[in-house]
Symmetry: C2
Amino acid sequence: MGIRVGFIGLGTMGAPMAMNIHKAGFPLIVYNRTRSKTEPFARLNIPVASSPREVAEKSDVVICMLTDAPDLEQVLFGKEGVVEGRHEGLIVVDMSTNSPEYSLEFHRRLRELGVEFLDAPVTGGDKGAREGALTIMVGGNRNVFDRVKPVFEAMGKVIIYAGDVGSGQLLKLINQVVVGLNTLAMVEALTLAKRTGADISKVQQVLTSGMGNSEVIRQLMPRILSGDFKPGFKASHLRKDLKYVIDLATKLNTPMPGVSILLQLYNALVALGLGEEGTQALIKLYDTLTRTQA
Amino acid sequence: MGIRVGFIGLGTMGAPMAMNIHKAGFPLIVYNRTRSKTEPFARLNIPVASSPREVAEKSDVVICMLTDAPDLEQVLFGKEGVVEGRHEGLIVVDMSTNSPEYSLEFHRRLRELGVEFLDAPVTGGDKGAREGALTIMVGGNRNVFDRVKPVFEAMGKVIIYAGDVGSGQLLKLINQVVVGLNTLAMVEALTLAKRTGADISKVQQVLTSGMGNSEVIRQLMPRILSGDFKPGFKASHLRKDLKYVIDLATKLNTPMPGVSILLQLYNALVALGLGEEGTQALIKLYDTLTRTQA
């Protein structure tokens, strides 16, 4: 349990993930740009670093759980960034969702500086993060993966070694295709239900008991029905992931009409100013289109 | 257990449903246009009627599990049809998926002849039908529902009284929105996986363990991966259901971009001559578009 872990990015997902690392007994140091999010850690006497550089200096493994590639680049290569605190044996793990191309690029740049890199995005939602029940998909060198594996096991239940750098992200993007379109399925079904005056409690009973059942229905439909649009996963983040999917599909001449229209719908949702809400806020776009009260 | 049950339509879903009624001890008589499908019943000494009229004469409840409204109309009102065998207390139950409008029309025409009607579509797939684990959504008179309920319980695990005639079908159409779009989700994810060379066994592990998990993934993805395109539920039937959804949505000025594109994709699948395969054959349309081997 001697691996010293640094955790950067204590958002909806990152905070409970870091907390599970602490609970598993790993020495932990945390950093977050918005300082207030470090308070629950400080109260437990977990050291709070003043920069990503300090995190790197005091850790064997630095885990990043950030929004997108530009944030990651800033944290890694910016002023007072992780690479300024690099040392022999340092491993950087990106657990945010990025495109496989970005992972390859970060990997290349870090390798030149003697730093190892794994891409290790997750699925399971904020519920999975809190319960230490995430699915973690890891790309990168196999030996490096083996060294970090005990730390992954503190956060997740299913740990998948996906292959070379970028292949964790690829599995994640494939997963997001399903999560995104299953969300669309739920939202269009609920819209039809509202517009036809169907009994919503009976709709919920049907959808959770037959061929329509899904993790998205189980986790997000109760939130919609109780008016809870807090992000388990932000709509703007899903929008970003869908854009990476379409970028990749276009590069590979692969038509994906479903994801394509889904990206446009999330573009509209962001245009409505709802990107910071949870992915389930897609229902609000449909409510707007049909002038229906949520 | 004295309710005499007549069962018309012994297809992929109907045959196991009728068999479960027999196993539950109800007196049963069956009819199917293609006579060969009645043979497993004849071997168990279950009477096989020579017409829907004869089924009606010898039953208290006639269950129809057919493809579409024109078939149902023929069985009910055609030559040697159910209404020719009508008698005091006869109940007709349509367990196929139809539009709520058709249910209302059949109900009106049967009521004029003194015959009760319930619409009672199901979800759960052929697996649910075989295991007596269907979800059954029932519209119609509450007292009539109560009389037939023990028969439903022989076929299903979750029996939902949905409300007036047509409301069972409405719940089913809402369910089909989810099932259809979840199928699209699986197919686009698999297509991206194939085109990027991702490890399919790892994709399956991810999709069945995180936020992407769904009954569609659990039941249909193994069939695709083993090359099994036999219909649990026929593509042409889902196409019909999606058309009813779009008809209803258009009548209600309700935009459903996801289902709309899905209907067009199933139109293309039927155009490719694949309508008689299972809904999972949608992957073949994508394989065709990308010249990928299944």
